[in-house]
Symmetry: D2
Subunit: 340 residues, 4 copies
């Protein structure tokens, strides 16, 4: 089976290629992009020497045609039109935001413009979602922050252990901001510095978190979300907290998390007393979770670490594609981080 | 006037020395430490070439005697005994935790052992505190996290704009963990990684935050605090959020912050739309604050950046000493960060 | 086939385990260590969740017995005694320094104590070395710096293009200094800082470089080596320069490098004009090389990037083991870096 | 006395402003720039809260007129024309390259275009240069790398202890590459990575090093220079090595360095056995030097650390201006690094 990658010169595209080079079933087909079309991939992804001489083509329906899977790592607003030209039998995977939100009003508020509709949501760990993804031909890859936050709080809301008012503060590596050169993302600016951005309910991943957690809880959940840019290339460390329901015990909380993740191939609940570090998930499709009950403040506090480019984007995308194609869910996905 | 520094080989001691070298009134007297006594300061603080050949002495009442000011940068539990030998006329500044908490029960819960009592609390920005510090001969330097969190939320609680249930997630540079070699603080472990620790209400700075905010609010305030170790040497970026009181407007919130900080020499409320970055406070005794009202979640969200070693420890200590000695509060304290 | 790892809690041990988890033929057997014996591996290598509950045993002849391969990642001076107990049929791989040097006088000068003798040297790229390694039952894994420097200059000396007086300055990530906690390796010390150490011909990897280059050149080669600690966890970037022989042209130099590396599976000569970056080899068993002729100074200048833990230690070790066991040399070894 | 800064929004401009804010004699006058004219300085230099509301003007002869000192931090090729309009009584300080080289042929080879001529060279530590700078009204600020390399080898060549063939490998922080956004300077690209660039005698600072060392040696000196981009914002660590003259002893070498730097206010020869780290000079106008004789290789090896923005640019500039204005050379210049 052959997979095309649109947006092959960016960070998400590079990570898709790195993972596909280790995938036993999916072969790499067309590599396309916009401004870098016509240049060799080696100019953009020097860490992939096997593909260094492959030429990048323009992203057009023609170059993407004839593949079993097409990954779209494009700016938002472009994927619907491309997908419409690709045929129903092709698995089209939107790594962008266009098809994540089910509520047109939320789309309008946070992104503006016409809502492209929603596609099957590529987070297999959501209850019932593996069945949705099996055989799917359109997949909306979740945002990196929503992946982290949803996994961190899923057991609490599935078991009814937390009130529906969440506070999230999440530190992210700079690759989440992409490869387009901007002054505030220069190494000189980010090294040695932590900074907040998109504060106060304006970050576009906020409604996606609310959508996921509300679905799990069966009731609307509000999220106060503050993203923080941290001086590292990769990784998200999300601290997620919500008021505990009355009478919640630490034991019940722990058991809910143990039960929820016991069969998950990519999510690890850490032993008690150990807290997640992003380095342990570096380059892996894994999530490391810990949870505790803050008795003094009466809150559930869950912390999760993922790699924003792997489990948070490209790895999560391939995990869903594996399901869509009827392959083993774990096929070709690394479960060891590169550390130290 | 001469100042002695006990704990001169550690990070807090080094920062005190760096600042005192630029202070026009305070001269550096004895440098003392425990295990590094007998070695030249240059072995421990190579960034201070002027003092490289100064020998470190043992921390004893004798070596600390005869100074106008004695800074104690010692592990907790030691400062009360040392201070008892130093005489009432000497300004004794405890950079450790021993005399910060007024509630013996809180001390017992978080530190254990006998409570040494409380000293005038060295955060001049607290309402009425400048008067307390003027002429004080004992000063308890606040913890680095409580300095950040208290400043970030002080205007909100002073003006009654937030409910008394705070959630704080704060990223800190590694110097906050000190200079004693530990495997989890190795460069190989911390570079490229963010990790949580002391989660769930167990961090010792929690009751100190509650004490400060409760004093400002005039009512008990609970704090859910999650510290995060970030891959940088210095800096704290604290995201502090609490439910807004009913009817709060963004305009009223902004005005409360503008009023509270208008006359503060070291705290800057950023222009609307710009959010704090720790790099802007690197090496400076400054705090950069921003606040917003998250209307969807109904919360006040304040973010602050400080340098944990400067405003968070050594600079804050000297600011209070300036008041204690009747000197201008800003004397000798840098207000420009070293960036990029 | 089963492989034991002695020194499983350290950085070299962790990297061996990470790579072996992806190796199709070698299974992981005993995990042993010294002071961490009795603890679960998850306490030391949290990035390997699959092995988190495996208990570390003591490093003894008994725990290491019965394996096809034994990797020794021990402090120097220990491996000869362990190997003597393991039997001739076992492939014993010394990741330490004990058996690298063939000259007892060089051993005596740089390490002191009795020389344990030399084993087949695990750098397959050296001329004729693949034949030596096929069927070998003892392997001395090269030092990380000598791996880099030898590969960078091998084509120049094999083709007689440089005079035998080399100057090397190499920046290394901190993992090369190991996991034992030392104050100068704390994150607070190394982040934001580059520093030299072991300057002036005293670093223990110097005679190993001279041994390798002298063997290739067929004449003694002297090396002036300056190692630099850089603020990154992994990676070596070595700048290697020597006087060009009279009449050398840029074309002849380029062709020598093209020829030398054309068939090498793990060494890439970059396209002209692009220079190596360590990030492109992060976590991979690859080397990226570039070379040029500095006409003004009359010198060959070669620059190489490797990952000190992968190609520089654990990956190089497995590459040699593959040869020793008659397996394909590239088996189980990643050739894609994790970037950005 | 008032000083204008042209290029106030860049890194060199920001560092000039930071230092001038602490200078007792020079007041900050006009702030000018090109594309950022019309915006407040706080948008560009948020670490300087005192100047946040100052508006940036266009760089024109009119805005720069009427100052005692004008600092030009402009792209090369612009300063001669600006200076021609400023009058002879004004001290014009070119932080760019235009007036550093005395040899028009070297200018032509490395920069191209017409040579603007040379100005008094702003490195007071060069023999006889303090006299040149006293009363000077035009100053060419040295490049950051040449500052480091010249100081590191000055004693060796002044005393005739090294042959005139130098090899330099120098790691630099990213601020040396400026603030213009470029993809290869993004934090995602530079964090965790060391990379070489401008290899093989093509870096524009090469002829400047040769000019300085040749002047000290009294004979032409060739330099093979390899710059390395290191994952840090500030700092240069230069390893500088040259063949020792026959019969050189370690004692004679050490004494030459001790003598050369004994009276220098900003250059410290470290105690034997300790090697420079850039962190010790962070934000300071200092240089830390160490030297040794590599007996095996027969080479002098000197290592130096400076802050590229302070001693390497803005601090060095002010040091020369102090001399030009007849002020104490050390006035307003920090000699303590910000560490850790």
């Amino acid at each position: 089976m052959r997979a095309a990658i649109a947006g092959a010169s960016g960070y998400a595209g590079g990570e898709l290629l790195r993972l596909l080079l280790g995938h036993p079933t999916l072969r790499i087909g067309a590599l396309t992009a916009a401004s870098s079309a016509g240049t060799p991939l080696g100019d953009h992804q020097p860490h992939l020497p096997q593909l260094a001489s492959r030429l990048i083509e323009e992203t057009t329906p023609e170059t993407l045609a004839g593949h079993d899977v097409v990954f779209l790592a494009l700016p938002h607003g472009h994927s619907a039109a491309v997908a419409a030209r690709l045929g129903d039998e092709c698995v089209v995977v939107d790594c962008g935001a266009d098809h994540r939100l089910t509520d047109p009003a939320a789309w309008q508020e946070f992104y503006g413009g016409a809502h492209a509709g929603s596609w099957p949501y590529g987070l297999p760990e959501l209850p019932g979602q593996r069945e949705v993804l099996k055989g799917a031909r359109r997949i909306a890859v979740p945002g990196c922050y929503p992946t982290a936050v949803t996994l961190a709080l899923l057991p609490a809301y599935a078991a009814g252990l937390a009130e529906p008012e969440v506070v999230v503060v999440a530190a992210s590596g700079t690759s989440g901001a992409g490869k387009a050169p901007k002054a505030h993302l220069l190494g000189s600016e980010v090294m040695g510095s932590a900074s907040a951005y998109g504060v106060g309910g304006v970050h576009r991943h906020t409604p996606e978190m609310e959508q996921n957690l509300g679905r799990v809880a069966g009731t609307p959940v509000s999220v106060s979300f503050t993203p923080v840019l941290a001086p590292m290339s990769r990784g998200i460390l999300a601290t997620c907290t919500a008021p505990a329901v009355p009478g919640l015990t630490a034991k019940a909380l722990r058991e809910a998390y143990e039960d929820a993740f016991a069969a998950e191939p990519f999510v690890t609940l850490l032993p008690e007393g150990r807290w997640p570090a992003t380095a342990t998930t570096y380059g892996a499709n894994t999530a490391a979770v810990q949870v505790t009950l803050d008795r003094r403040a009466g809150r559930v506090v869950a912390v999760i670490a993922i790699d924003n480019l792997t489990k948070g984007t490209a790895g999560g995308a391939i995990q869903s594609v594996n399901l869509a194609l009827g392959l083993p869910e774990e096929l070709g996905l690394p479960t060891t981080g590169v550390a130290p």
